[in-house]
């Protein structure tokens, strides 16, 4: 037993001491979790994100009895006001001075948008109040035609197609405008709130006890860590050790391949455990993750994932003739297997021929199983039993190929 433990220890020590390995297996997943949570974790958390937007209200006609443009402006001003000292408002609102040249102001704000200093620019056109009022009065002869409304009096939202922030800000503005429109219709009696489809908006964030973003991303990052550990770590270690004749030194001793495998597997699983612990602790203590991995089915799924990816690594080692070929094969498989698993975006809408890969990909099943077991994903494209069967089939296939094809010593 001592030999198995010491082989495991050697495997761990090598991985931890080698900077490149350490980066990819421990630091990179931690880095990715941090980046994803910091960037995307704030989106949707009320009070923790703010967009710089510009509002240019050009419809300042005093004749308007119902100043809809002022109403819109006041809503945005409200959203640009902090509710308390601890909370940041949703918008930082930029509006022209009283005596400002509106054309010049608009031009300069659009420049700011292009430079990424504004998330969106909203322009309320002249005649907007009249257009809205006209549309509310049935059979009014003075109403402008719809084509005229479209040409002259539409609200205009300018956004930058190169900025994610701009895209989010625009979506929020459109939602606000839709809500304002609905309320106008209700107040004018043209729409009954009883007939409306009721909906509530819930912010995804810590403040109101809902699932934080980090809970969604953490299972995927943990699996990605296991995946890279298996896909690159296993063939890398085995093939480089073989090609540098490190393994040959073992084979001239009484050590058997099976005992070496036992030690290697133990070391690999321990590394996965270390990786998991680090990511979990970071998720909980740094980013407020609330998911619980302590349930038996979750633990078993984590072990199944680590073993499946390790087996996959052995499969690559069996098919590659040299260490470099093994790394190239791992690189080729890495991207499609990760991206066609639902790790970063949903796979349900993909074309049928790509869905074949999704369904053959063990990562898809393990990821969905893990997300389901920790309660961050309810809907599924996979039947439950396949979440276990498909990875087991991959383990079986990999073991068969490994036992027949893997060369444990350099060939003459």
């Amino acid at each position: 037993m001592k030999d198995i433990l010491l082989i495991a220890r050697a495997h761990i020590a090598t991985a931890v001491r080698e900077r490149v390995t350490l980066f990819w297996f421990l630091i990179f997943p931690v880095f990715l979790l941090t980046i994803l949570t910091l960037i995307f974790g704030q989106i949707g958390e009320e009070g923790e994100i703010s967009f710089d937007i510009t509002l240019l209200n050009r419809d300042r006609s005093p004749s308007a009895e119902t100043p809809f443009s002022d109403m819109i402006e006041s809503v945005f001003r409200e959203l640009a006001t902090a509710q308390d000292e601890a909370t940041q408002p949703l918008f930082v609102l930029h509006t022209p001075e009283e005596d400002a040249d509106l054309e010049g102001f608009l031009e300069s704000e659009l420049t700011e948008l292009r430079r990424g200093r504004r998330a969106a620019v909203l322009v309320i056109p002249e005649g907007f109040n009249d257009t809205v009022m006209g549309s509310l009065i049935e059979d009014s002869a003075e109403i402008a035609t719809s084509s005229e409304v479209g040409e002259i009096d539409s609200l205009r939202i300018f956004m930058s197609d190169t900025s994610v922030s701009s895209e989010y800000a625009t979506q929020i503005i459109q939602q606000i405008l839709t809500e304002i429109d609905r309320r106008i219709l209700i107040q004018s009696g043209r729409f009954s709130p009883d007939r409306a489809v009721s909906s509530e908006t819930h912010w995804i964030g810590r403040q109101d006890g809902e699932t934080p973003y980090v809970d969604y991303v953490l299972p995927g990052i943990i699996l990605m860590g296991f995946f890279m550990n298996g896909l690159f770590g296993v063939p890398g270690t085995i093939l480089f050790s073989r090609d540098r004749k490190v393994l040959r030194r073992y084979w001239v001793t009484p050590l058997s391949v099976l005992r070496y495998l036992a030690g290697f597997g133990l070391g690999h699983l321990t590394l996965c455990g270390l990786q998991f612990s680090l990511l979990f602790l970071l998720g909980v203590y740094a980013f407020g993750a609330t998911i619980n991995f302590a349930a038996l089915d979750t633990v078993l799924l984590l072990v199944l994932a680590a073993v499946t990816f390790m087996a996959f690594g052995f499969l690559i080692a069996s098919l590659a003739k040299t260490a470099n070929a093994g790394m190239a094969t791992a690189n080729i498989l890495n991207i499609p297997m990760m991206f066609l698993s639902g790790m970063f975006f949903p796979t349900s809408g993909l074309p049928a021929f790509i869905m074949v890969i999704v369904y053959a990909n063990p990562v898809s099943y393990l990821l969905e199983g893990l997300r389901r077991s920790v309660g961050v994903q309810n809907s599924t494209i996979m039947p439950s039993i396949w979440i276990v069967i498909v990875p087991l089939l991959w383990i079986l296939l990999s073991s068969l190929v490994t036992s027949r094809r893997l060369k444990w010593d350099v060939e003459r």
Binding site: L6, A13, K245, R249, T253
Partner: protein, 307 residues
């Protein structure tokens, strides 16, 4: 063990495709001796050793080791063997003592790691990573790993290849120490001075066959009582060479080294000096020596070991 030999090899054969790497060789390795397999690159030394170490399976033949006849080397036999591979590596990010501790765990009985470290003069490097060691230190670590189980039979495959003279001397000291402890050592080398300095018995291989076997003194003694005189002679004309060959047995090698063989050293030297004065030839790198294993190989094959 009551047998006088540690290992007996009979009709051992190994092919790589069409190439017959080892061609039905047989030899016996006496107990507590240094048995050296000498030969040029590609002679079949390493393949022979790999079959004896259990890395490769022979196509045919038999190995009798520790009193048991085997077709291939088994794990119980490996418990009593220590192997230094020609070019095996170590995990570069493990420490020296970790490597030895790891290897000691593979055996039922092993020596204390600190003792082995002292034996191979690596105590001060105990906590150093393998990647920081010099070539000589790595080779001493490899020897330490081969000796960790206090083996009865030690295989050393080209232990000094690529090492500087000082590191080579250190390895020689370790081999001599092993022999003094009563270990049996099977050594391969293509350095004849190493074979002569360390070996009790030498087996010379060429093209997969054994072409000579015996104690170094016996093998060189078989060449007769002649003394060899050598010098560089790249500017020696054919006419001058003919004249030299008339007074003594002279040959010119590919490297333009001229060798004279004589049983009458004084007379031959006088003739050589007269000849050099007459033809105005400088006797560069002139040496006088007794025949060695290189000469044995040259005599048997017409080629030099390190051609």
């Amino acid at each position: 063990m009551t047998d006088a030999f540690m290992m007996k090899v009979s009709r051992l054969t190994k092919h790589y495709g069409e190439t017959r790497a080892v061609d039905g060789i047989s030899f016996t390795v006496p107990n507590a001796s240094v048995f050296t397999i000498l030969g040029p690159n590609g002679a079949g030394k390493t393949t022979t050793l790999e079959m004896l170490e259990g890395i490769r399976e022979p196509d045919s033949g038999e190995i009798e080791i520790f009193g048991a006849r085997l077709k291939r080397v088994t794990r119980p036999v490996k418990q009593r063997m220590g192997v230094l591979l020609q070019d095996g590596g170590f995990e570069p990010y493990l420490k020296v003592h970790e490597i030895l501790r790891l290897f000691s765990s593979f055996f039922q009985n092993s020596l204390p790691v600190d003792d082995v470290l002292e034996w191979v003069a690596l105590s001060e490097k105990s906590k150093a990573l393998v990647r920081t060691l010099s070539g000589g230190q790595k080779q001493r670590l490899a020897i330490g790993a081969a000796l960790i189980n206090d083996p009865d039979l030690v295989f050393l495959d080209e232990p000094t290849t690529g090492l500087d003279p000082q590191a080579r001397r250190n390895i020689w000291d370790i081999v001599s120490g092993l022999r003094a402890r009563g270990k049996t050592i099977i050594l391969t080398t293509h350095y004849m001075e190493e074979a002569e300095a360390l070996s009790d018995e030498v087996c010379i291989m060429d093209y997969g066959k054994i072409i000579a076997q015996g104690a170094p003194k016996t093998l060189t003694g078989d060449l007769g009582e002649e003394t060899l005189i050598e010098f560089h002679g790249e500017n020696v004309s054919t006419q001058a060479m003919d004249q030299l060959q008339r007074c003594c047995k002279a040959t010119r090698s590919d490297q333009m080294m001229i060798t004279l063989e004589t049983e009458h050293l004084t007379e031959t030297m006088e003739s050589l000096f007269a000849w050099s004065r007459e033809h105005d030839i400088k006797l560069r790198d002139l040496t006088v020596r007794q025949p060695n294993l290189e000469d044995v190989f040259l005599t048997l094959t017409g080629r030099r070991l390190r051609g």
